[in-house]
Symmetry: C2
């Protein structure tokens, strides 16, 4: 991808064209550009074009492809004059790529050497994973216990935590699963393994304890079974509320067990670790047309650097890659990975069809106001977060990452569901880009927030960690911002706090449960 | 229903038979009864029978019906000897009643006079509804704002609320809907109207304000449209986070608007109101075999008293009435109501089938350990909460109650989803029975918790408001406990605090979203 950015002066008319095949570019200036504006590299505007929206660089006939990222993002519904505003109403959306005739592992990997010698300061775990935070996790088998656990956590924070200064936080893994659900439904393994694997996140140090009610469907032995759990050991660390005499005793039991776990966690110390201990999840949310030209390409560059340095990177959001799946199957490291990508797309196609919708249900009013005409344009701007390295693995929703390098973690694009599933996959640092702005934060891992525009970075000055808006203004290159992200990930993994950590913005977990409730 | 309860002495063997047609009874004694136990009204036990479990009162041949509540709850898989333990492994479950040939409004209403002269002390609302609490509700269009709103609510509680002493609480109506969802899917109206109608709950006094992000799918004008909202007025009471300069300003904006709303709410006073202002939701959760013989029949008696006194009562839990639907269609006030009951059953049958399960997915390990063999037995014990009055209305999930008297609010049985939908329907007092025990509580309405057994009432002495276990021990009649519930509902509606209110146990809202996420 070559970027052509006109950047002489900040006030001068600026348009951004991503690929030389593109017959549209987007307007970069705050407030858009008025009719009659002369462009250095394009036709004069025939009408006002809002910021982030597309202008036709040449005449486009009715039925002809409107090309961005070098790809048809739609077909003109009427002839489009040079200099006109190419808004969503003028575009017919192309069909999704068929899944039965895709290029399989055909792209040669880029010729880039490994990056040697980088380390971060992390907490080594017994299972070989590495924590970037030192958190006591208290998980739950069922939603019924949530309010009791919240009181217990509040008491631990207020009365207990100060005695264990090496522990960063105590987090309740509350969720809405466990009972009142069809627990033997074909799709029930997704939420069950998600809850199980959340408890194994590297930032919880292998010391997660469990609060159970007693009569729920998701019994502790079912939650704690499977790979990675020593059954006999896990069973010791369960508080069952129905075995206790009233509310006061329940609280005491949880707090007493938490003290034992905190004592163990408090002995841990950060030590230098190779980047193979990093599991970085990348995501976008509240996207605009700049997401795909500033923040996401810079994240893509950071992804490449991280992968070359030995880290694991997870990209996700099925409905935002579906329309570019041909680009991903081509980049699969082998045909088996390509097939797994296709399997995940097919499952999601069916899931959406079962609910009477398709992938176009993804886009939001904010996306459209921000200049993203449809899911195809949004997808192309989302996929660039994955950089250019080969795709080495595919992680079905709720499962753990298995291979180093770049993996596709199949998740909904819904921000908190995606973040929750990436945490279950083992994520210990999150990088999240936003154009419209969201106060998104997680309790279990630090979130680096990336603004796609200068205006957002300025207005949300105390929520955005990185400003990729400089790219649009020519103040920094994609490579420079990507390098800055790489360094921020290492510093954050080593303990530097992000904005959402400073404010304590911790959104609840959000499970993906495609099965019925009862 | 006639109860035959053997109650000579507390230590004496006790079995409970509900209906004279029953060929099984359940063991009431703590710890169950050992082999060889002589019963006053039944055969000697051939084996140990746990508490709450069934004993065969006579020989039952293979294939013969096992009868409880006067209804076949299953068919014997092998010959059953008198005095044996009739556990779930010995029963073949009957099929659900077909929906196409049901009795329609055939039961004559009981010949009982209205109960005159009862009032409670409530907060009258402009729309004619009555609050039992005086709460500032802050609703949300999207999950993205939840963590910011939680900080704002914490600050309001800490710094602001004391200046408005007539206001009971401030509650964030956080939920997991609003974006990352298929908002135009056929089933999307369910979660959307639920969020809308939650904001109209009588306990929020018509003063609910809204926190929006800005770019979400569920825009404030979509959330706040429809019956009951003056669009022009509602629009003034929206804080959009994306319009504010950073986290500090967002908090300030929410707190400033909350002060205006609190000033209005603080002027409200309780006054005597007829019981037509009560909307009582009844539910059970964590059920055992005693639910259907102690707590639920007593709730049924309270339901009858409330309906006769002019109140509205909502019963719910589709999967727990499905197997007794023939009993409900017969009790419908007219054929139209019966048809609406059948529609809701058919919708849920389809919903479950779409996920590859059926209504038998309802029962839990706790239910079975507690003696409930299958969903048929559980359903018969659940339906008794509805008492004996005619069913006057049916409320589809997320809609508001429209008629006084007894209504079926169609909801999943899942405790928090049911409670959330009953709140959306307009519930201002909740009555909740539990046998195994759950710390269930809600933020928006008081919850009266009813224990089915003395042992639970004793062990959870600081969580259970009413003990129906006395019924099994012969210490009180169903009618006496039902009358006590009726009086407790009135006292609670008038301001008396329940146990979960005293502890501040407030579970999060749980939406019913049968549509896909994206
Ligand atoms: Ca995204
Ligand atoms: Ca997302
Ligand atoms: Ca919460
Ligand atoms: Ca129930
Ligand atoms: Ca329930």
């Amino acid at each position: 991808m070559s970027s052509v950015i006109e950047t002489d002066r900040h006030q001068a008319p600026l348009i951004i064209r991503i690929n030389e095949l593109d017959n549209v570019a987007i307007v970069a200036n705050d407030g858009g550009l008025p009719a009659g504006t002369e462009l250095a590299d394009g036709p004069p505007l025939t009408e006002w074009v809002p910021q982030g929206h597309k202008v036709a660089l040449q005449r486009i006939e009715a039925g002809e492809a409107v090309v961005r990222y070098g790809v048809a993002i739609g077909y003109a519904r009427q002839p489009l004059a040079p200099g006109c505003w190419v808004h969503e109403g003028l575009l017919e959306m192309p069909a999704s790529p068929q899944l039965d005739n895709l290029p399989m592992a055909t792209t040669a990997p880029p010729d880039q050497p490994p990056l040697e010698g980088h380390t971060f300061m992390g907490y080594r775990n017994a299972d070989g994973s590495v924590g970037t935070r030192n958190i006591l996790g208290i998980t739950t088998t069922v939603q019924c216990v949530a309010s009791v656990l919240e009181h217990a956590v509040e008491r631990i924070r207020r009365e207990v935590l100060a005695a264990y200064p090496n522990v960063d936080d105590v987090v309740a893994l509350n969720h809405t699963y466990g009972c009142g659900v069809a627990i033997d439904a074909p799709d029930a393994p997704i939420p069950i393994r998600t809850v199980r694997n959340l408890a194994r996140n590297p930032n919880l140090g292998g010391q997660t304890m469990v609060v159970s009610l007693g009569c729920e469907k998701l019994q502790p032995d079912r939650l704690l079974s499977g790979e990675g759990f020593e059954q006999s050991d896990a069973e010791q660390w369960v508080v069952r509320l129905q075995e206790h005499q009233g509310f006061g005793e329940m609280l005491d039991a949880i707090v007493a067990m938490a003290r034992q776990k905190l004592a163990v966690l408090n002995e841990r110390r950060r030590e230098p670790c190779p980047l193979s201990g990093l599991v970085v999840g990348v995501q976008c949310g509240g996207s605009d047309a700049f997401s795909g030209v500033t923040a996401n390409p810079a994240i893509g560059h950071a992804t490449d650097l991280l992968v070359r340095a030995g880290a694991t990177v997870l990209f996700s959001e099925v409905t935002e890659v579906r329309d570019g799946i041909h680009l991903l199957t081509a980049r699969a490291a082998n045909r088996d990975v390509a097939r797994q990508l296709i399997e995940q797309m097919a499952w999601y196609d069916d899931y959406l069809a079962g609910g009477g919708v398709d992938r176009s249900a993804n886009t939001t009013p904010g996306n459209k106001r921000g200049g993203l005409s449809n899911i195809v344009e949004k997808a192309l701007g989302s996929i660039v977060k994955s950089g250019t390295q080969p795709i080495s693995g595919v992680i079905p929703p709720g499962e753990r990452v298995r291979v180093a390098g770049l993996s596709f973690a199949a998740t909904p694009a819904s921000d908190f569901i995606c973040g929750t599933l990436q945490l279950a996959a083992g994520m210990n640092v999150h990088m999240f880009s936003t154009g419209r702005g969201t106060p998104y934060g997680l309790a279990m891992a630090p979130v680096l927030k990336v603004a796609t525009r200068n205006a957002l970075a300025q207005s949300w000055h105390d929520l955005m960690d990185i400003n990729a808006g400089q790219v649009a203004m020519g103040e920094a290159s994609i490579e420079e911002v990507g390098r800055q992200m790489f360094e921020s990930v290492i510093a954050t993994a080593s303990g530097r706090r992000t904005w959402t950590e400073r404010w304590g913005l911790k959104n609840d977990l959000a499970l993906f449960n495609p099965a019925p409730v009862t």
